[in-house]
């Protein structure tokens, strides 16, 4: 059982900033996210897009903002349970909550902050009838613990940043990568596309354009994939296929947590962004209230106010006085 002060569901920008604000009040945080790396949709959907409305940054790439937030949160040593979805919440008689993930990891805290953004990101699965037979048996929708695949030959499908970045990563680590894409235009950043082309010229990668994996064969495990083009079908013998077509968010199990939901968002009180269940807060894109704007900067504000009430729940006997970081500095754990 992981015990902490605040369980944060969602490791996107708002969840990460909560760690900092909570840390200033000497509260410890542990984050849970279904995506294997922190950053939420900033890293998953648009890591290389500039954001222009973060105060003090005329322009910052989404991925860079996440790096900075991680750096800012680091002194407060947040814990992470990544690649697991928060599935079940159970209130205990002592007032605390136990949150259990899809893989059975349990976390206990007096406060739960849902910073779940658009919801739990589920992979967009290719429409192949027997794909379910090979999930986790050669077909993987998310790259988790990449070390275990380094040097192995593989097939990667997709044309976005995720597909290209991983194809380059593994090709540079000695894997032979078949990169399969339905067109010859890539959605990924142009630098990544040029790098992939260099690797292809160097014989470390094969680019299959106007091509699509349409058949999977195997027994207990994946043995081969069949790549279709307009004129041909090519069988590639491999036990590893990453269809990386991005992730699509679903509100998921949080929808069944007894929280008031309106238009796929959690209704909160704007005093402290608490939900209808005391001790459970919702901040960032996941919440709704009169005048709600889905902006990162609004999420930062919500997080800051929410931790004030969190403090009172965790330390009912103590009174907290706001101290400025310019005066106090940042005292990490």
């Amino acid at each position: 059982m992981i015990k902490t002060d605040i369980i944060i569901i969602g490791a996107g920008p708002v969840g990460l900033f909560t760690v900092f604000e909570a840390g200033l009040m000497k509260l410890r945080c542990h984050l849970i996210d279904v995506i294997p790396q922190p950053g939420g949709q900033l890293c998953e959907i648009y890591p290389k897009k500039p954001i222009y409305d973060i105060p003090g940054y005329p322009s910052v790439l989404a991925g860079e903002l996440v790096d900075k937030l991680m750096e800012q949160a680091a002194p407060f040593k947040p814990g992470f349970t990544l690649g697991e979805r928060a599935d079940i919440i159970e209130k205990q008689t002592d007032g605390s909550f136990i949150v259990t993930t899809s893989k059975g990891t349990q976390h206990q805290a007096l406060v739960v902050m849902i910073a779940g953004g658009l919801g739990s990101f589920e992979p967009r699965k290719p429409l192949i009838s027997n794909i379910g037979d090979f999930e986790e048996k050669g077909v993987r929708y998310i790259v988790k613990d990449p070390d275990q695949f380094e040097g192995k030959d593989m097939v990667i499908s997709g044309g976005g940043d995720s597909a290209l970045d991983w194809a380059i990563y593994f090709a540079e680590k000695g894997s032979f990568v078949h990169l399969v894409h339905r067109s010859d235009r890539f959605r990924a950043h142009k630098d990544s596309v040029s790098r992939a082309q260099e690797l292809a010229s160097a014989g470390k990668m094969k680019l299959h354009t106007f091509a699509e994996v349409k058949e999977l064969n195997g027994d207990q495990e994946l043995r081969s994939v069949v790549i279709h083009t307009k004129l041909s079908k090519n069988t590639v013998y491999t036990d590893l296929w990453f269809p990386l077509f991005g992730l699509s968010p679903k509100i998921g199990p949080i929808g069944d947590w007894g929280l008031e939901i309106e238009k796929n968002a959690i209704v909160v009180d704007t005093y402290d962004y608490q939900t209808n269940r005391p001790g459970i807060f919702a901040i960032g894109d996941v919440n709704t209230y009169a005048g709600k704007l889905k902006l990162i900067l609004c999420g930062f504000h919500e997080a800051t106010l929410a931790v004030q009430t969190a403090y009172k729940i965790i330390n009912p006997e103590k009174k907290f006085t706001l101290k400025y970081t310019t005066v106090q500095g940042v005292q990490g754990f």
Binding site: I45, Y46, L118, R124, S183, R185, R187, F245, P249
Partner: protein, 108 residues
């Protein structure tokens, strides 16, 4: 004084919705559909980086042209047809008066 244009959106259940939409508010079709709660997610916010606002253009003269980002996204999306476009890449302009679209099926 700008005028509204009339557009028709067919939702996933096949119900037709007629809207009068202003052309001077810098709206795109995804935003219009979201504004009327038509199950269009618009996950990426309008960057052509998801396909949750895919629509089929039923009035050929309004198809316009897919831009590069949009084309690249549609190359990876599902349920893509010849007349597919991303709603977020269609600004609402006066020449779209009479536009008729159908929302593409949801992915997953």
């Amino acid at each position: 004084m700008s005028q509204d244009i009339n557009i028709t959106v067919i939702d996933r259940e096949g119900t037709e919705h007629d809207f009068a939409v202003p052309v001077d508010m810098n709206l795109n079709l995804m935003e219009v559909c979201k504004g009327y709660d038509l199950q269009v997610a618009g996950i990426c916010g309008g960057m052509a980086m998801c396909a949750s606002c895919q629509v089929y253009i039923l009035t050929e003269e309004h198809f316009g042209e897919r831009n590069d980002d949009e084309q690249a996204m549609l190359d990876e999306a599902y349920h893509v047809e010849e007349n597919s476009r991303l709603g977020c890449q269609i600004p609402i302009t006066a020449d779209l008066d009479g536009l008729n679209v159908k929302i593409a099926p949801e992915e997953l």
